[in-house]
Symmetry: C2
Subunit: 244 residues, 2 copies
DNA sequence: CGACGCTTTGAGGAGATTCAAGACACGTGG
DNA sequence: CCACGTGTCTTGAATCTCCTCAAAGCGTCG
């Protein structure tokens, strides 16, 4: 609380709105005019926090609206009829979730914090207003949704490849997404467990572990627990080639 | 041409538009008011035809717009860097494709006719008009896109299961989609090859063949070449249960 | 009718899983 | 600050599912 007050009285402080959000062009406003961004700013709830293990929304619950992650990371997971978890995606800052509930008005997935995170929330009941007042934003959501479809197809393509290629691609994919968002692309923390990685990639967690050790033994990466450093990006890319 | 003229002078003839399309509630107009449907009718090109093996659009080509299949069937396929095909989905009447090009304005996938087909086409350049003139339609597209995402997650869930469960689920999935669209759910023609089924399900075509024969030997189905009859739907469902 | 592709069936092998057990890391409480 | 316990991670060995390769049968279309 005291920290917050200091910030508020600081001369450099400005409240974070959509206009000056540092996720510009990564979150929803991409491609909108200033008027529309201003309108969006009035609808969005900012600065929501979740601790590791806490959910933002649950599978089966009514559609909550769209969520834009500002910091931290999360996993998006679905469940089969027996309650087995399927990790659909890992979510990084600037990425959006919520599409899994938009069509049916019931969430298909659960979003769970992998570490302390902060997010913006566009409530479901305000989306209808946007259809009339800011159709451009709905179009942006449509584009985002289609981006998600594209990346699902990419994942489907990867599922045809060996476990080694999947892990190499996974590391490079996280690296690239962090780079685009201004984080270090060569050194970062894997906030998810081996089990969650394996679940997401469709391989056993023991296999993930073996392959990570293999990459380390070949000096492609250095791994200490969850801390990852990419030593030889080129060799990781080579792993994706047909010869392997 | 002469057939067309006969139709036009026939007293029972009415041009097919979005207002009287027999795909009502399956194609895009779902949830739109009459004015919007009328507006859409002016933008859509109807009665496009492709023969078996011909493409509606190709991966890598500029976004053509949205396609609603009216009759026949198609496959939606992506390709990896080595040109290997990945069958992303099979498309049945009333279903929509085109999302793979909407975000990037370049198609990610190729759509190929599996048999003679007929489709409606909403051209790409007219979609921008819709954002302003008929935001409701963009919202419908967003919902459809999210439906696609949901079904991709379902496919991801199935990929965790055995080859037998995948084939059982595939047959039941086609059956259900045909039923919803008013076709026979127990007897139909599989317009795709075993190879394409295997590619889509992530298993070898020999495995598909073996499992289809297994199902036939157990009297769950009857298969003659591509003609399929479901004899015991319940037993196919049983195959999806954990005990198997 | 011949050729080609699709489908079926068999045999052997490879990659990944499962099971098991020990090492390690982390958070808690003494 | 260290001991402790729990969950995560690593490593090994045996097993299994499915793939690959091969060849024959079938269907279809020019």
């Amino acid at each position: 609380m005291s920290d917050l007050n200091i910030s508020k009285t600081s001369t450099t402080y400005r409240p974070v709105t959509c206009e000056n959000c540092n996720l510009e062009n990564l979150c929803m406003p991409k491609g909108l005019d200033k008027q529309e961004i201003g309108g969006l700013a009035l609808l969005v709830n900012r600065n929501n926090i979740r601790q590791r293990g806490e959910a933002i929304y649950h599978a089966g619950s009514p559609f909550r609206g769209m969520i834009a992650l500002r910091s931290g990371s999360a996993k998006l997971a679905s469940f089969d009829q027996n309650g087995n978890e399927l990790v659909v995606a890992f979510i990084l800052p600037g990425e959006i979730v919520g599409f899994d509930g938009l069509a049916t008005q019931l969430h298909n997935c659960t979003v769970t914090a992998l570490e302390t995170l902060n997010y913006c929330h566009l409530p479901a009941h305000k989306i209808e207003q946007l259809v009339i007042n800011s159709p451009g934003l709905i179009y942006v959501l449509l584009q985002r949704s289609c981006n998600e479809l594209d990346s699902q197809v990419q994942k489907m393509l990867m599922s045809r490849h060996s476990a080694e290629k999947r892990v190499a691609n996974f590391i490079l994919n996280i690296s690239e997404r962090l780079r685009v968002r201004g984080y270090s692309e060569l050194e970062f923390r894997l906030s998810m467990s081996r089990k969650e990685i394996g679940n997401h990639l469709g391989i056993a967690h023991e296999t993930v572990s073996r392959i990570i050790q293999l990459f380390q033994s070949r000096q492609f990466i250095e791994i200490k627990s969850k801390q990852l450093r990419i030593i030889d990006k080129k060799e990781l890319f080579n792993f994706l080639q047909p010869i392997h």
